[in-house]
Symmetry: C2
Subunit: 451 residues, 2 copies
């Protein structure tokens, strides 16, 4: 199976209309995000999926057979047998910091090809970028304490694997998802469930059974009946482990007042000689709750975060879009844009690139320019990743992507990392782009009136 | 590949702890939803995935090999080579109407088996049920107008296919997702993109090209520059189609004041002799916006809904859980429950079933009883779907599931369908269940104190 049909029907019907009208100009599309759901920045992710897709893009016989049932032209279907992507793609590497309106990916190809890839690109980039960004915010709120991703059970179905990958890029330390461990090499972690505790006659029996089975990676869940009593029993089992030359890794709180309980439990562990045992907290956590816990001095070492991380709650979708900005007609570039009564839906014309200006080792501002404009300072953010249909960029490992994201994030001034009330990061348009936009609006209005 | 590792690490570590301590009692777990995100009811979906999973559940060599890297006991890993699910599962069929707290699925098996399936069950049931329910609300708001699902680009990655399946169960009429058309047989539909319009020098050229390529399924997008002018051009192309013996299917609005524009465009189409052409509206729609449009007399025939449907926004996760309720010890059933300082986290003990009482062909109330209690009226909602590890139920087609959902929904009194302010549907506990719960709380508190 290829991924060619992982697309919207209208991409295929438009392809046929382009083909039939003989209108297949070289075209350029920008992928960008109109509005960032929370905060001022994005951590980009998902490019690896797009590159794999481009490399493998073709139509199999059964796929063409299905399209035959949907009123497609027989001659057009024949052309799909030899379909491949032949264009160029520029992109910010995975783990980049990006801002609203900036082109994150730029696709230049015959429009029949550029159109097909839209839906897959949006599906992958929107989701991975959403979740990597969310993870970055959650990790930031935890001020260096580890985030364990526990979201598989509340994930949006099969989206869980790419979501977990994105949480790791964004800064999570581990996942409960064993498949993500096996397939992606992400460290896996976990504790025990309430059912494990309740399945035994006594809470302490369940602790002993678990400690016996996993003496080297034993976290005990202490809130099934009474958290304080649970902590005391954990101390008993922790000391039993010590006699065997092992150490209790820690305990988990999953309900109640996590801040107060963590302080109380810390004291019980410390008084019991288990200063080394860590406290994990979980239970509908998010960046705001973690921030509050940290500000109130909670003694939590690891935050287990599920639903919010894996779905991006309360914003489960990123409104990234893919818009036509340039077409070559009779050998000349014609800038394109969409006007709209809703100003936010108006797009930027022309083949563009993005530059980042630094100051004292930190990001100062970005500038979007036309491709051929000269910029005296700054570094370009878009790299050529596909040339004439072939992948020409490095393919960093997941660990390297994660490291790059952390390095980039360290250069973002703290003011833009604020969970609430972060100002908009300055993204400027070059003189050439401003002029082109004004000219394009004029031209479109004139041409439409003339008809 | 099997789906055995599509689980949380702690399921596997608990399995080893159960195995090592020789504690593998027959246990019963309930899947239920604590709180419904919006509205008063759920449309259940996802059971098909669970049945496929159960049928195929085993560990492959490479999966065991991965676990070997994670500190598992060699003897335990050997037992996984022969692992299979041998228990019983009762479930509400897909497309049932369910309410909070009611067991939707009940799993009875040796606890090592029952524990493993938890995560997969939650991942599939939570998401499919969430989206089927959302789709039902959106379709209900549209009062019989069709809902076209357009969400692939904003879906949570690979979750899109099961999401689209759930929207169809919940009442959507079609999808833009071609893969869902091919794999699941869902009708596919679509119009055209703004880029198609802007890629031509003049809007009307793009309309003619599309009408020429798809004369029998031509919808034209009319808001790229000016919606009213777009509608007039659509009339021109519609009349050109008529001369060829074809008919314009309709036009699409994607921005602006959809209500006012739809009335204006309807008049333009009607005045142009295109009374038959339909109006599709899209653009961040949801059940509330559709309700408002319908109440204001919008002339919209088809609503294209994307992000909200496919992600369940603003509630992207269902908090369905899987809780231990009974264990067999020394041949005797011991009811189990979790106490909690948060009352909503306290669970119901015992092996339970659910009955639905009807009145005048409509649902009146549900009653949760213990398995052996006699109920004088009503019909049981849970069916045996797996017995001793084998699937023993019918496997209805997607179309049948969709029809069953519609039939069930027609029996739900209108008051519970309200988008806002629907009352809670009456779900009662039997006398036996109330008594068992009180006894269990007492027993647990006594036993924990005694330790």
């Amino acid at each position: 199976m290829s991924d060619a049909l992982r697309t919207d029907l209208y991409q295929l019907t438009m392809m046929q209309a382009y083909w039939k009208s003989g209108h297949n100009p070289e075209s350029t599309f920008d992928y960008f995000v109109r509005k960032i759901p929370s905060g001022s920045y994005l951590i980009t992710a998902g490019l690896s999926y797009l590159l794999d897709y481009i490399e493998n893009l073709h139509f199999e016989n059964d796929e063409i057979e299905y399209l035959r049932t949907q009123d497609f032209d027989e001659e057009f279907l024949k052309t799909l047998q030899d379909f491949k992507f032949t264009g160029d793609i520029l992109a910010m590497p995975e783990g980049s910091i990006a801002f609203a309106i900036e082109p994150i990916i730029r696709v230049t190809a015959p429009i029949i090809e550029a159109q097909l890839v839209e839906t897959f690109l949006l599906n992958k980039m929107n989701f991975s970028t959403l979740i990597a960004t969310k993870a970055s915010r959650v990790a930031y709120a935890a001020k260096g304490r580890a985030i364990a991703e526990f979201g598989l059970r509340r994930a949006q179905g099969d989206g869980h694997l790419e979501a977990t990958r994105a949480t790791y890029i964004g800064g999570c330390a581990s996942t409960s998802n064993v498949l993500a461990g096996k397939e992606l090499g992400i460290p896996v972690s976990g504790t025990m469930a309430h059912s494990f505790v309740t399945s035994f006659d006594h809470e302490i029996d369940s602790y002993r059974a678990y400690a016996d089975a996993f003496p080297k990676r034993c976290f005990l869940l202490i809130d099934t009946y009474n958290t304080i009593e649970g902590a005391k029993k954990a101390v008993i089992v922790g000391r039993e482990l010590e006699k065997r030359g092992e150490k209790l890794l820690g305990v988990r709180l999953d309900s109640g007042n996590l801040c107060e309980l963590s302080k109380h439990v810390r004291k019980i562990l410390d008084d019991g000689g288990l200063e080394y045992a860590k406290i994990v907290a979980s239970g509908d956590l998010n960046e705001w709750k973690i921030d509050e816990l940290m500000n109130n001095g909670a003694r939590i070492d690891i935050f287990g975060v599920g639903t919010e991380l894996i779905t991006g709650r309360p914003n489960p979708a990123l409104d990234g879009i893919y818009k036509l900005s340039d077409i070559v007609e009779n050998g000349k570039h014609v800038p394109k844009m969409k006007l709209s009564e809703e100003i936010v839906k108006t797009t930027l014309p022309g083949k563009k690139i993005v530059w980042r200006i630094m100051e004292n080792g930190k990001f100062k501002k970005d500038v979007i320019t036309l491709e051929n404009e000269i910029v005296n300072e700054g570094a370009p953010l878009l790299e050529t990743v596909v040339r004439k249909g072939k992948i020409v960029c490095d393919r960093p490992s997941l660990t390297e992507i994660r490291q790059n994201a952390a390095m980039n994030f360290s250069k973002l001034p703290d003011i833009y990392k604020k969970l609430e009330g972060a100002p908009a990061y300055p993204v400027e348009f070059s003189r050439g782009l401003i002029q082109l936009r004004a000219d394009s609006v004029e031209r479109i209005k004139r041409e439409e009136i003339r008809q």
